[in-house]
Amino acid sequence: MALPYLIYVRACPICKEGLCRVRVCTASHHLVGCVICDECESVWTDPDMETRSIEKDDTYTASCPECGLSLWDEACHWADIQEVCLLGWYDKVKVART
C-alpha cells in the first residue's frame, strides 16, 4: 500500500534526479535497511551514503546488500516511519507529504 508520505535522505548524487529513499528487506529474520535511488537504482548500505552496494551479477537488478534478494521482490518495501526508527535512521531522513 502506498504511504501518505515519502521518506528520503537526499537527491541522488549519481543521476541527480532521483530521491534516495529507505527500502527494507524482510527476507531474513531481522529487518535489513538500505538506501536506494528511486530513479537510477543506485544502492547504499546506510543513509550516510558512503558505501555503495553494487550487485555482482549481470541482471542489473538492485539487490539487498545483505541477502542479495531483488529489492523489488515482495519481501522488500519502502520503509515506513516506524521501520526507519527501528533502523535508528530517523535523524538522517526527510519526510515529505505526498
Binding site: I14, E17, R52, T61
Partner: protein, 230 residues
Amino acid sequence: MPRSQRPSTESMANVLRVLPARWAITIIAVLIAYVLLQPRLNTWFGWQLPSIPAMLGQETPKTKNTPASKQADAKKQADAKTSQTQSSTTEKPKSSSGSFKFGILKSLGRDRYESPAGLVYGPGSEEGHRLQHIERHLQDDPTRPGSHGVFQGTMEQFLIAIDDTYRRARGHAKGTRTRNEEAETIYEAPFDESIGYLGGSSGSGQKNPPLKRMRVVVRGKNLITAFPIP
C-alpha cells in the same frame, strides 16, 4: 467445472453396474490401493502419478505451507505480477513497422528490447520493466519533492531522443558530457529546441521552465533511466 466432471463419474458408475460383483470389488480395491500409494510413490521415486481427483479434473491445487514453499509462492506471485505489468507494456500499440516495439525496439527475447543505437531495455525497476520506468517521465508529478524532468512527446519520440543522446555523447559531439560512476555511465546531450519541461515540486515552483538537454543513465548497454534536464 462440475458439469464436465459428471459424465466421467457417471460412466464409471455405469461400468461398475454391468460388471460381475467380483470384478467390481477387484477394481475398487485397486483404486483404493492407488489412492493410498500414489502420493507415497511420487515422494519415494520422484514420479508424477496423478491423483484420482486430478484424473477426473476435480483437484484444486494444494501446496504445503512450509516457509520455503510460501517464499516460492510469493516469488511466483511477484513474477506473475511483473509479467502482468510487463505484458501491459507489450500491449502498447505497435507501429506499422510490424514486430518493432514502439516502432524502433527490436525484441531480444525474455522481455528485453534493443534500440537502433544498441541500448537494451529489460526487466527491472520498481515498475517491473525499464520501459515502464522511463514512461513516468512522459508526465509531471507535481507533488514529488525535487525535480522531475518531463519529456513532451510520445514514447517513440522519447526513445528516439534517448538513442540520439547516447549516440552523440558516445561520439563526443559538441555540447555532450559523459561521466563514469562506479557502476554506471551517465550521458548528456543538448537539443536545438525544448524537449520537455521541469516538473516535480521544484519545477512547479519555477513555473515549469522548458528543458533542452537529456540525461541517460546506463549500466553496460542496459538503459537504467533517462529524462530531460536543465
